[in-house]
Symmetry: C2
Subunit: 488 residues, 2 copies
């Protein structure tokens, strides 16, 4: 298992196809659609009994911009690819892949139209408040573009594109993409788990798989690995991304890194295997009205930043972190944004609250005093640059919310974090997998979280469905053309 099989070891193949796509999530569907449109025969392998993968269980946000029809319909006509690039290259950094982000931004308007042509519907209205996920069907939302320092780096324009679904919308995106695969004649073989790449010399010429306990082999002229990341593989996490050990997993349970390992086993390059996305169970609508402090009672970021970024910062703080609110702030949170979260502690004074939370005596007092001093004197936050609209002097009584308690309340206390991995196989701009020592692995492609794509150490919602489909499409096109060139 995982180690490659030599072509000479295969007596006969059960299936033959031009382009074999391993994994039917968003990246796989996009690769299949474009390979089929380019004239190649296509089979998708899916380990579970239906298509969709982790993509279908996601929020469904698509990070798109540069002047999409939806942005314009919502009154934002001043975005362009350069402005989008300025934001995304910072927000996904440090160490983001600028070449991939550039290409992605240049193709973003077209990608939006591609989604619509595949049947994804968008409601032409903006949800204009801080949140992880709007409680409405609004098609557009802010994803941190209007928070410091990004509002000084690029013109602030919302780019969170959402399918017409309340709450989690990934299923709506995947229903449309999978239907498009079907209509184009890309076959999906479900309950089929790919195990190993088949090699003819250096070239990948197929995969072996298991279906209901039986071996099954596929001969292909090109193989596209879209098997997802490795958050469900404890050994790979320990080896490559131990920061996520013990935390919740954002996946459908099948992100076991199998595609990444199949590539590594034949000397494929990997990239940024330690980079992760992590979301923290703190409510944006709450923290922007108060503060987020670490286990030493210090603030560490502007609380109105994209919540994925305050989450990532919290992951690296001495914990546990706390949401601190005064009574007026708590009362100001719109009921629809409360998500069942209640104060874990309440106290008349900060000294009492420090004792309740186990914070060093005087630490929270000093933090609030500095915050209030600037709120009073200038109505600003010179330490972390939270927007002035959220700034006012805080005064007791006080409340603290423990983000280790899940949204919806209850008593169960976890770590508060859940995430997934961003590192994977190194690919070029057409999804070709790079080889250790130079060049590409002939016949092998990767996209989505099985590959390392645009992300540096930062993460913004919608960039996984975004880059998975964008670079999945490019891989599908390139693979189909390579097949035709070889056959010509």
């Amino acid at each position: 298992m995982t180690k490659p099989v030599q072509l000479s070891e295969i007596e006969s193949f059960d299936h033959e196809v031009d382009v074999l796509v391993v994994g039917h999530g968003c990246a796989g569907a996009a690769a299949a659609i474009e390979a089929r449109r380019a004239g190649a025969s296509v089979i998708l392998l899916e380990r579970y009994s239906g298509s969709g993968g982790s993509s279908a269980q996601s929020g469904g946000e698509l990070y798109l911009g540069g002047g999409t029809a939806l942005q314009k319909a919502c009154g934002f006509s001043d975005d362009d690819a350069d402005n989008m690039f300025a934001y995304l290259s910072k927000a996904l950094g440090p160490h983001a892949d600028l070449e991939k982000i550039r290409l992605y931004c240049d193709g973003s308007v077209e990608l939006f139209e591609w989604f619509r042509a595949c049947g994804v519907e968008f409601v032409e209205s903006l949800y204009d408040a801080p949140t992880w996920m709007p409680p409405t069907k609004d098609g557009l939302m802010w994803l941190g573009e209007n928070a410091w320092p990004y509002n000084e780096i690029a013109r602030p324009v919302p780019r969170g594109h959402r399918p017409a679904a309340t709450g989690f919308g990934g299923h709506a995106v995947m229903a449309a993409l999978s239907a498009t695969c079907d209509s184009l004649g890309a076959e999906t073989h479900t309950d089929t788990k790919a195990l190993s790449l088949i090699l003819d010399g250096d070239r990948v010429v197929g995969v072996t798989a298991r279906k209901f306990g039986n071996d099954v082999s596929y001969r292909a002229k090109a193989v596209v690995l879209t098997t997802g990341g490795f958050v469900d593989n404890e050994q790979m996490l320990a080896d490559h991304a131990p920061v996520l050990l013990g935390h919740g997993k954002v996946s459908d349970g099948g992100d076991d890194g199998s595609g990444i390992e199949m590539g590594m086993a034949i000397g494929a390059q990997t990239r940024r295997m330690g980079f992760v996305e992590a979301a923290y169970t703190a409510l944006p609508a709450m923290v922007c009205r108060g503060m987020l402090v670490n286990g030493q009672g210090n603030r560490f970021i502007n609380e109105d930043v994209y919540p994925g970024l305050f989450s990532h910062a919290a992951l690296h703080q001495p914990g546990p972190c706390w949401v601190i609110l005064d009574e007026a702030g708590f009362d100001d949170v719109p009921p629809a944004d409360l998500w069942g979260v209640r104060p874990s502690y309440a106290a008349e004074t900060l000294a009492e609250l420090e004792a309740d939370l186990g914070l060093p005596p005087g630490s929270l007092e000093a933090t609030v005093a500095a915050y209030n001093r600037h709120a009073t004197e200038s109505g600003t936050d010179p330490l972390y640059h939270k927007d002035a609209k959220w700034i006012r002097p805080l005064e007791g009584p006080w409340a603290a919310v423990d983000p280790r308690i899940s949204f919806g309340g209850g008593d169960a206390k976890g770590t508060g974090f859940s995430g997934f991995t961003l590192g994977g196989l190194a690919t070029d701009l057409d999804g070709q997998v790079l080889s250790i020592g130079g060049g590409v692995v002939p016949g092998l492609y990767a996209a989505g979280r099985a590959s390392s794509s645009m992300h540096g150490e930062g993460y913004i919602s919608g960039t996984s469905l975004g880059d998975g489909t964008f670079f999945g499409r490019r891989a599908g096109v390139h693979a189909a053309r390579a097949v035709q060139d070889a056959g010509a």
Copy 2:
């Protein structure tokens, strides 16, 4: 280059040997010594014109304990392997390799005697002050064992063992180990750069190399990769440890990751490729008398911790960081510990200093006020637990030192950080390289910074020469025995 060569492609070999060691630093020397003692013929390949590698250019500290003769001679008779393990497993963490640390601690007294038997000399006295490197020949020093939280986790005992050299002592360690290699009949082939592993099926059976522009081939029954880390390989840094991009490099210039890539090219597992050591140009003797603050004017760690650990914390802070001292603190630093460092800024008030350093108004004032409040009330540091002996209320006039300026002064301003990589090939306890998909790569070993060893996200001086020799020795023994078993 880098990609493996098949045995069938080699017409004839230039050299044949039982155990081929690639890289003559501390790990390679240790492997060669023990393989030779176990009866194997041994050749060491060294890319440069003489042995020593990055080990010879290092400080020469050896992290040893558990009751060494040197510890006892200096009056520390209460250490043992469990106590050493308690410290090291925390200080090298989070995510340290507990199994390797356990073995290392259990073998530490013996490893010290091994160094002495190889001819490394130690002066039986303690240097008892915070420093990166003592200005004396004292053989023992503290490496953070007496700082919070480690002083509560284990009985504080110094374990920094230093060869009898003033300043950098790595050359003294390597001179002894290389002489031992020579005396045992392990040949060193200098100016010989290994390029590729030679494979017979799955088994490693040699390497190809270049010497003065000519191809040269080595047939071996076992290959031990001790080629060092990859801090000198910009592409590998960008792919795997971008946090070090742009910073100084702690190496002899040859840590190009070639051994790691040779392994990856044949499907060897890697581990923790993103983990790094980073040292910051801030003087321990200075920061413990004042404070270390980040770009928001906040402290972030107890300043008397092992300097490698405050360095690592600083690397992840919003920068730039500053050393803040009052006049009394500056005057209290022993002249021998000043290392030519002078204040970058001086000011009568903290408000002036904030303006000079570009810190948010009031930020440093709030930090110092909290520090002084506890210094006055209780003489303690409840936020970060710096030892009480360093705590007193600070008062102006003030000085700030910019760690981006090198020790020794001058005007050149870099990043202040220099480091090396800790990730590499995944190995078992005998140095056998693990294969993607399970099992080991037959005939292949790795040790030193070419492998992932004991380290998690933390680093303590002396653990590289320490684990390089410890696991290098084990690899040499195992390789020699495997050769004998195969020949029997």
